[in-house]
């Protein structure tokens, strides 16, 4: 019952937050002073056309009515139409989500794959050079600007070593020589499932640098959090008891400590998803990755206000959703939290 109550409370908080988010996003976009209708049509349109489009887009009505219309459409799942591409924003989102998700998951995967063991190992050798090294490395990961790291990797691996491609998701020649049937739009999955190994290898190679760039910050954070959590857990009484009983060291660490260190690690994973979301802006620009980040940045620079609203809303909803999931998972895994 307590858990259910907690769940409901968190859910209602999230809903309230989402409504507030929609208000702020709407407010932001309508504060834009420029004449969006003129942008919509093109450089040499006539004034009558501009006026017509202003009416068409509903920009001449008073703000509260515009907001009401906006909310109505939102609840129907209509995020509006992008000014630059003239397509519904939901379509733009759907088309680009797979690219960004593929990048995000790969980046987070690398971050967790390296971050957790590094954190565990450095907790084990606390105070020793390895520990200090990991500490510096993880803070370095957190301090490195994503847009710069990407460039450096491009210089090293594309220009100097010439073993990885510069940018893009896949070599455009391949669509003609080894066309890929698109099922999920995750290139790795699709090419794997259809045994299109050439495309698989190419997509994989193109994924390496962007994923690495994205992984730096989460990896640093995860390593530190895991280390701290492990340290705290290792000092607990029951660990010392287990040691006293002579159970082998590595069993102690991995079975007991790790399991209890999951909770704070989960928090971090949730937090880093937020960064990863904004990190995709830079990574996608540098690597010309056709995902949500690239689309958002272009919309911001073009003042494509429906797209800006849609993306901000979507990003925040995603963030809220992930935080909710992380909180709930934490409560489930660690009963102490739900009593908060």
């Amino acid at each position: 019952m307590q858990k259910l109550e907690f769940f409901l409370r968190r859910l209602s908080t999230s809903l309230f937050v989402l409504i507030g988010v929609s208000v702020i996003t709407f407010f932001l976009a309508r504060v834009v002073p420029a004449n969006p209708a003129a942008l919509y049509i093109g450089p040499k349109a006539r004034q009558e056309d501009i006026d017509r489009v202003t009416k068409q887009l509903g920009l001449d009505k008073p703000l509260p009515i515009q907001y009401a219309v906006y909310m109505q459409e939102l609840l129907r799942g209509d995020l509006g139409t992008s000014i630059s591409t003239k397509r519904p924003i939901t379509e733009e989102l759907a088309g680009r989500i797979p690219a960004t998700l593929e990048l995000l998951f790969s980046g987070m995967f690398i971050a967790v794959l390296f971050g957790v063991p590094l954190g565990v190992l450095s907790a084990r050798s606390q105070g020793k050079p390895f520990d200090v090294g990991v500490r510096i490395l993880s803070i370095a990961g957190v301090s490195m600007p994503a847009f710069f790291l990407g460039l450096i990797l491009q210089i090293i691996f594309f220009r100097n070593l010439e073993i990885l491609p510069l940018a893009g998701r896949v070599d455009s020649d391949l669509r003609f020589t080894n066309p890929l049937t698109e099922i999920t739009n995750f290139l790795l999955i699709d090419s794997f499932v259809t045994s299109n190994w050439i495309t698989f290898k190419d997509a994989f190679l193109h994924l390496v640098l962007p994923a690495l760039t994205l992984a730096a910050y989460p990896m640093g954070l995860i390593a530190r959090m895991t280390r701290a959590a492990m340290l705290e857990t290792l000092e607990q009484d029951y660990i010392r008891t287990a040691k006293a009983y002579g159970i082998k060291q590595y069993v102690i660490i991995y079975l007991y400590a790790l399991k209890n260190a999951i909770s704070p690690t989960l928090t971090v994973i949730g937090l880093t998803f937020a960064f990863a979301l904004t990190g995709t802006f830079f990574v996608e620009i540098i690597f010309n990755w056709p995902g949500l980040g690239l689309f958002t940045v272009r919309s911001l620079l073009n003042l494509d206000y429906p797209a800006i609203m849609g993306m901000t809303l979507f990003g925040s909803i995603g963030y809220v959703f992930i935080n909710l999931v992380v909180d709930l998972l934490q409560a489930w895994v660690d009963p102490r939290i739900s009593l908060h």
């Binding site: 988010v21 702020i24 976009a29 710069f148 460039l151 530190r224 904004t278």
Partner: protein, 296 residues
């Protein structure tokens, strides 16, 4: 025997004096180096005109004959597409790189902390309202919010700074509130209330000063984060505009040249990295001192 002295945090208030803090910082090599870097950074910012070898170029004057020179004795970091000395631009760029984040963090604290203290101290519906609004702003990934605001307000350094302040103040509200909630039950607060001291005075005299240490920790780390955010906004074209010697802008300018003239983007990027690293390391150490039980 530990190769590096481990900081053993002492959990009692009276050791957190400035002397103690300084001695801890100066003992550990890492934090000593970070402090040195930050001091160097401040010096560069203050005496930029005197230190930079070509200060006019740092400010934006072009030198059409010298374009795209690789690092040499005359130009340690080479020159960019308009012939400007990169080292000078980095040095001149230290001033905005320092001042703006200080301003942003300062304003965020000035707005956020009193709000949080008020919320935590008073409790009740005021607390609810303030915290709901704070949660609302925190619901946006900070950089995304900053970008959206910056794009709505238009391009420019001042607008980017406003955008960042709006995105960052909630963090301090939360911290201050946490402290206030912890303190309001304490006997000295109750005593002051019994003595008839007004709420405002209590907040400013008793509660806010106690928020200093966690806020200081957060602020130090935030310096690094805000520098990254400013650089990011400038990189995208939303923040500082040319020809200002903003480091993020320099990286963006150099992006088209990374294949041949790698130095244009590399040195400013390294500058950002080192400064942010220094702030993060220092913040890490401060956190160890003030709040050792906090996860690092």
């Amino acid at each position: 025997m530990a190769a590096v002295p481990v900081i053993t945090p002492i959990d009692s208030e009276n050791t957190r004096t400035l002397r103690h803090v300084l001695s801890v910082i100066l003992r550990e090599p890492l934090s000593l180096m970070s402090t040195a870097v930050i001091v160097l950074f401040i010096l560069l910012a203050t005496f930029a005109y005197q230190i930079a070898p070509y200060p006019e170029e740092g400010a934006g004057k072009t030198h059409a004959d010298n374009t795209l020179l690789s690092p040499s004795a005359e130009h340690w970091f080479g020159t960019d597409k308009l012939g400007r000395d990169i080292l000078s631009r980095i040095i001149m760029g230290a001033r905005p790189a320092l001042m703006i984040p200080i301003g942003v963090v300062l304003f965020s604290v000035l707005i956020g902390a009193p709000l949080g203290a008020l919320a935590g101290y008073k409790g009740g519906w005021l607390d609810e309202v303030i915290m709901r609004i704070t949660d609302l702003f925190l619901a946006f990934p900070s950089l995304l919010l900053a970008m959206a605001i910056a794009s709505a307000l238009g391009r420019g350094l001042d607008k980017a700074a406003i955008a960042l302040i709006v995105s960052w103040w909630p963090w301090y509200t939360r911290i201050a509130r946490g402290v206030a909630v912890g303190l309001r039950e304490r006997y000295f607060v109750e005593a002051a209330q019994a003595a008839g001291v007004s709420d405002t005075v209590i907040i400013f005299r008793h509660i806010l000063p106690n928020t200093l240490s966690p806020i200081l920790v957060q602020a130090t780390v935030d310096m690094g984060t805000v520098i990254l955010a400013m650089g990011g906004l400038a990189f995208l074209g939303l923040g500082t505009q040319p020809p200002s010697p903003d480091w993020g802008l320099m990286v963006s300018d150099g992006r088209g040249y990374i294949l041949e003239q790698w130095w244009i983007a590399t040195f400013p990027g390294i500058a950002i990295f080192i400064v942010v690293l220094a702030f993060n390391l220092l913040g890490d150490t401060l956190r160890d001192i003030f709040d050792p039980r906090q996860y690092k």
